[in-house]
């Protein structure tokens, strides 16, 4: 009886309702996972530059421990002692996803289709910059990119453990769309 009276509009609604429910639950799950990973098991990060013994653009995990900031990747591990950290900065940037493979693929798409793809294949990331000194007093700098919204948490943890930061964690300026603000 119910099926016989169903209009096309109600059919669409019947389809959309469970779909939106599934989507909402999925997003909620992702957000929870991100927060948990910051607190306990570390943050997925990309080493952009600066760590000795670790290759550039190496993916790994950043963990804040009482001894310092630990970066672990496949076949590479490095720790920056909390006491040696002179300053901690966070920022935001936007970058294209897909790496070299997608870049080459986009170049191969005819009629400028690759450019259209570029419009949708970008993501925003947080950057974490550390200035620290080694045993000889020499200045080092290291930069990591981490998923959006997790840099501030890492900075808070580092400052709580005693790392020096010239810009306090609380004074976070409003996020800009073009990326490039610093905290």
């Amino acid at each position: 009886m119910l099926i016989a009276r169903a209009t096309p509009r109600s059919c669409i609604l019947l389809f959309l309702l469970p779909f939106s429910w599934i989507c909402t639950s999925l997003f909620a799950q992702t957000a929870n996972t991100a927060n948990d990973s910051t607190a306990a098991s570390g943050v997925r990060a990309t080493h952009v530059l600066g760590l000795e013994g670790v290759k550039r653009n190496h993916h790994g995990t950043l963990t804040v421990q009482p001894s310092g900031l630990n970066f672990e990747a496949k076949g590479a591990r490095s720790t920056i002692a909390i006491a040696s950290i002179q300053d901690v900065f966070t920022g935001q940037d936007s970058r294209q996803t897909g790496g070299k493979v997608l870049t080459v693929a986009k170049m191969g798409v005819p009629y400028g289709g690759g450019r259209v793809l570029s419009l949708f294949s970008h993501e925003k990331v947080d950057s974490l910059t550390l200035e620290y000194r080694d045993a000889n007093g020499a200045l080092h700098g290291t930069v990591f990119t981490i998923p959006l919204g997790q840099a501030a948490d890492l900075k808070k943890q580092l400052v709580a453990l005693g790392a020096h930061a010239s810009i306090p964690v609380e004074s976070q300026p409003e996020k800009k769309d073009d990326g490039g603000n610093k905290q």
Binding site: F89, R95, Q96, E131, G137, A138, G141, K182
Partner: protein
């Protein structure tokens, strides 16, 4: 009378052997001769000085780290020291490299990928290399740009390469001559 073909490889080996040896000797001598005149200089790199908020910290650190790597690559200097390194205190023939930010334009990788002509990232610094007495030996404005492919931070690598090339091609005086001129 037929030529003896079995002797051909032997003859070729007799000619090619000494020729190869000569090439190896020449290739070995050229870089030594090139580097000999300034190998006695060491250099200490200071980070970029800029007004607060003009240059993001990740760019500042990336310029510093990239430049250190590029200067080591040139082989022009006996030692390349980081800022604040106590090991550099007792080095007699030490040059100090200072950089002052002139211009910074943060581009956008997506804009570059979509339009090709917009979204370039540019960093321009004033480079000054001076001896301990403050006598400037090299002064130049250098720029690093990323116009087409790559992330914004790639501009720092381009800048570091340009600075390293400038210093490699610069004719530095012999350390003793520079000291005499300073007195």
């Amino acid at each position: 009378m037929k030529p003896n073909r079995s002797l051909l490889p032997v003859t070729l080996a007799r000619i090619a052997g000494p020729a190869l040896l000569l090439c190896i000797i020449c290739l070995g001598l050229i870089p030594r001769g090139f580097a000999a005149d300034t190998a006695a200089w060491s250099i200490q790199v200071e980070p970029v000085t800029a007004e607060e908020g003009q240059l993001p910290p990740d760019f500042s650190m990336a310029i510093y780290e990239d430049l250190l790597a590029q200067l080591v690559k040139t082989g022009k200097f006996q030692q390349v020291y980081r800022s604040g390194d106590h090991q550099a205190d007792g080095v007699p023939n030490l040059l100090v490299l200072h950089m002052t930010l002139l211009n910074f334009e943060r581009g956008n990788q997506t804009q570059r990928a979509v339009t090709t002509v917009k979204g370039a990232t540019k960093v321009q610094v004033h480079l000054k290399v001076s001896a301990r007495d403050g006598n400037a030996l090299v002064e130049k404005d250098v720029q690093g740009t990323v116009r087409f492919f790559g992330e914004n931070l790639k501009a720092t690598n381009a800048l570091a390469k340009s600075i390293a090339e400038t210093l490699r091609d610069a004719s530095l005086p012999a350390p003793t001559a520079a000291k005499a001129a300073g007195q």
